[in-house]
């Protein structure tokens, strides 16, 4: 009798513990883990689901640290980009990942006829829009700078070798967030984690949401406070990048000078758009295309997006919104002052 009672109590204890484990597991699986922090000189927002979400976040933060301090930043000493800049004029061997990134960017540069250019660095430094007191540079200074800018000044050779002409400066600012998104999704998949991660507003979407619904992604309203969406795009998997005239800019004599420079004119791009959002199969491509399309404008931009099988949302100065067919059904405008239009 006594032994039966002991066995019974053990069974009850086991069942209670079982419920505890299942409840905790279910809770951990369904609850999101949300962290916002700064890294790579920008804002990183993690929104992760799955048992390993916290472990994944630690690994993801380490990857961002690696990208910033060893690979991408031109401001820091001893990064690979800093080394490439220092070695301008010489043929050098780069890491396989750097070679891959540069080749991919170079393809978009060629296809956009230089609207995207990662050698725009001397010009960006002249404008210094992110600096304390930016002002419009003298026309002659811009001209001088433009002589040092041109994606064809970067050459590729076999065995992961490159050569950049002397005086040229590499700046991966336009695609760094996208590269980060690509690297982060690898970790998310390895850790079996679903969710979104935003690197300075470039977003990667991985896996299925625990409730089975599609992910909802807001498109920043170019003329409202940061964090206010003008529309919502639902998607299951992929990468989203936006380039706009609103993030970094200064106003001089009533004119807005933003940070996306047109490598042909040496001035902020003036294509009639306030923002371009691209959805593509990888982060680097979506980042590269959003910058290139913003510089090119809607008419040329849509052709470029099509070439890369990417989807796009263009917003112009009059708040007209143009959306490619592939995502039109998944996109909804949520602000009355924006209106959906057909491409001309």
């Amino acid at each position: 009798m006594k032994s039966r009672k002991i066995i019974l109590s053990l069974i009850v204890a086991a069942v209670v513990m079982g419920i505890a484990v299942i409840a905790f597991w279910g809770y951990e699986k369904r609850e999101s883990y949300d962290v916002t922090e700064t890294a790579m000189s920008t804002v990183i927002s993690y929104h992760l689901f799955g048992i390993n979400k916290k472990e994944a976040k630690v690994k993801m933060a380490a990857i961002l640290d690696w990208l910033e301090n060893e690979k991408l930043s031109w401001r820091k000493e001893k990064t690979e980009v800093a080394n490439i800049n220092e070695q301008a004029g010489n043929k050098i061997k780069v890491s396989p990942e750097m070679y891959g990134w540069l080749k991919k960017v170079q393809a978009v540069s060629k296809d956009s006829k230089g609207a995207l250019d990662i050698t725009v660095s001397p010009l960006a430094r002249l404008w210094n829009i992110e600096g304390e007191r930016p002002s419009v540079p003298a026309v002659n200074d811009i001209k001088e700078c433009l002589k040092l800018v041109g994606y064809e000044r970067l050459e590729f050779f076999s065995n992961e070798q490159i050569r950049m002409e002397k005086g040229t400066g590499l700046d991966l600012g336009a695609v760094g967030k996208g590269i980060a998104c690509d690297e982060l999704t690898t970790i998310m998949r390895e850790c079996n984690v679903a969710g979104t991660v935003s690197v300075g507003g470039s977003i990667a979407v991985v896996g299925e949401k625990p409730d089975g619904s599609a992910w909802k992604l807001g498109i920043q309203d170019p003329r409202a406070n940061t964090g206010e969406a003008m529309g919502v795009l639902t998607m299951n998997e992929g990468f989203l990048s936006t380039s706009g005239d609103y993030e970094k800019y200064f106003v001089e004599n009533g004119v807005r000078y933003h940070h996306i420079l047109d490598p042909h004119t040496g001035k902020p791009a003036d294509s009639g758009l306030t923002s371009v959002t691209i959805a593509a199969g990888d982060g680097l491509t979506s980042d590269a295309l959003s910058t290139a399309c913003f510089v090119l404008g809607a008419d040329e931009g849509i052709k470029l997006a099509e070439k890369y099988k990417a989807e796009a949302i263009f917003i112009d100065n009059d708040r007209n919104v143009y959306v490619t067919n592939g995502i039109r059904e998944n996109f909804k405008i949520i602000k009355d002052d924006y209106h959906l239009e057909d491409f001309k």
């Binding site: 419920i19 809770y27 804002v43 706009g244």
Partner: protein
């Protein structure tokens, strides 16, 4: 025989009560974890202050890099003023939902809402 039966009945009763209690316990645990609406202030990755979203707060946060004037009012959080060069923190939307944040990059300041109502969108482009 009857004696044995009543023991089994009592045992089953006990098991059911324990199961119910544990289920109720977990429900309460989950519920309370969800209900805590807090505002957490981080500087350079360290949490310095934590408020309830229902508090009224009018506080200047001093960082090594500069100041941000934090306001919590009627369940909404925003930065009223700051001496950072870009003022992007002041131009951010008021926040009040779980996982929403306001960031001042130059001052390495992050203000986040935890718990409470879930936000409608998972992420927003910039």
């Amino acid at each position: 025989m009857q004696h044995k039966n009543s023991i089994i009945r009592n045992d089953i009763f006990l098991i059911l009560v324990l199961l119910l209690l544990s289920a109720a316990g977990f429900t309460i645990l989950l519920f309370t974890r969800h209900a805590g609406k807090n505002v957490e202030v981080f500087v350079d990755g360290q949490m310095l202050y934590s408020y309830s979203l229902s508090d009224t707060v009018n506080e200047v946060i001093n960082t090594k890099w500069g100041e941000n004037h934090l306001v919590i009012e009627e369940g909404k959080v925003f930065i009223l003023e700051a001496d950072c060069p870009d003022k992007l923190c002041v131009r951010q939307k008021e926040i009040d939902k779980n996982g929403e944040s306001i960031v001042c990059l130059p001052h390495k300041l992050v203000v986040s809402v935890t718990g409470g109502e879930e936000r409608e969108i998972d992420a927003i482009t910039k």
